[in-house]
């Protein structure tokens, strides 16, 4: 008897399988939909926030500008007036209030360029960084210390005292050279300065920013 029963059930096995199959597929349709969290997850945001890649130093930026590195765009998040007053070369002004405006999104939401935010210090730039990161935009950086640090390190570098190590002098020389590039005039080095403006004295040391090793998905035959 049992065998007969089993045989009867198994003769319908394809119908049963088809039914299970359709139920599973239909389940997807019927399952309650929930709104997926927009942007990235909090854990990922945290790991971005603690990543050393978050900040970029004024020296690195100066270096990149002098080398005419095409891989980044500078975003000035201060108000328009301050931007007109002074800003970094080739910077784009997107005041914090207009961060998510239609016309600013193409600059921020792309994967070709590194986006470097800066403001007077890095307070507003950090907020812009956080907001954009939350949206899931990529390759965002903050200029460490903002324009204030820019002035104290690049435009008006502090001369090292005699007892400081050699590296400090090297750094000073590099910074001084950069500041000449950005149009600062040193009375004792007039000739050199003029020459260096035309030659764009690129510092020898190229600072490479290490990117996380991550492979994009690819595929196909």
């Amino acid at each position: 008897m049992d065998k007969k029963k089993i045989a009867r059930v198994t003769s319908f096995r394809y119908q049963i399988l088809a039914l299970i199959f359709i139920l599973l597929a239909g389940g997807l349709v019927l399952l309650p939909k929930y709104q997926k969290q927009e942007g990235i997850k909090s854990e990922a945001l945290l790991s971005h926030a603690t990543s050393p890649e978050r900040y970029i130093s004024t020296d690195q930026i100066a270096n990149k500008i002098i080398n005419k590195d095409p891989s980044f765009i500078l975003i000035d998040v201060r108000e328009e007036e301050s931007f007109k007053n002074y800003s970094l070369p080739n910077a784009i002004n997107i005041p914090l209030a207009k961060l998510f405006d239609e016309e600013s999104l193409p600059y921020l939401n792309q994967s070709q360029f590194d986006v470097v935010f800066f403001s007077n210090d890095h307070f507003y730039a950090d907020q812009a960084w956080m907001l954009c990161n939350r949206r899931g935009f990529k390759n965002l950086r903050v200029l460490n210390g903002g324009l204030n640090t820019w002035f104290t390190t690049i435009i008006n570098p502090e001369k090292p005292s005699q007892d400081m190590p050699a590296e400090a002098f090297e750094l000073y020389a590099t910074r001084k050279a950069s500041s000449m590039y950005f149009g600062v005039f040193y009375p004792d080095q007039q000739a050199v300065a003029e020459e260096s403006i035309s030659n764009t004295p690129a510092p020898k040391k190229v600072i490479t920013v290490q990117k996380k090793k991550k492979k994009p998905v690819e595929g196909g035959c």
Binding site: A18, F21, I22, G26, L28, L31, K213, V217, G220, C221
Partner: protein, 197 residues
């Protein structure tokens, strides 16, 4: 949250090892399903054996249902998966040429590899033919390039191109698959049997 390797949850070094393991499973299933026999494969076009249709549609439906369930449950982020790019005319023309090649040669590349592994000489010749075909394409690349790179619609899915709800697409796809299975069984009973070994 998957996919595991692109998200760095499994180190990149495992990529190749996982590739071999997945390949072994893939080859085993294809061979065990009879895909190393060109006469079994060609049967789908003459109605005497629908194994290709059944395996192919079952695999596609199971995988798409599984992937969407995993996405729903949060194990897999569907937006991170590689979506085969759509080059409209390249897909159509390439597909038509492949179709002729399929019915003439009786294999597709994956199945021919299975047949190579078990010593079918026609599959060896077929694989040689594929390599010649690739060679011809590469040599005449400038001639094919307008089709190859033209009509690019992006890495789109049916959801993007038609605005369909993916869940309904899957549901309808599953029903089509089951109808196809039923029809194929009916057809097979009517067609004269062909035996092969």
């Amino acid at each position: 949250m998957g996919p595991l390797i692109p998200n760095g949850l499994i180190p990149m070094e495992w990529d190749s090892i996982i590739a071999i393991i997945i390949g072994i499973a893939f080859g085993f299933v294809l061979e065990a399903s009879g895909f190393s026999s060109s006469r079994k494969l060609a049967g789908v076009f003459y109605g005497y054996d629908f194994a290709v249709l059944k395996v192919f549609f079952t695999a596609a439906a199971v995988s798409v249902i599984g992937i969407y369930y995993m996405d729903y449950l949060g194990y897999l982020d569907i937006n991170q998966l590689y979506v085969h790019p759509t080059y409209l005319w390249a897909a159509i023309i390439g597909g038509i040429i492949m179709g002729i090649g399929f019915v003439a040669g009786g294999f597709c590349p994956g199945t021919s590899l299975c047949a190579v592994a078990i010593g079918k000489l026609d599959a060896w010749v077929y694989v040689g033919g594929i390599m010649i075909g690739v060679f011809v394409f590469s040599e005449l690349y400038s001639f094919f390039e307008p089709i190859y790179n033209g009509y690019f619609l992006g890495n789109i899915t049916l959801v993007d191109s038609f605005g369909w709800n993916p869940y309904w697409v899957i549901f309808i796809f599953s029903i089509i698959a089951i109808v196809a299975f039923v029809v194929s069984d009916v057809v097979r009973k009517k067609v004269k049997k062909v035996f092969y070994s």
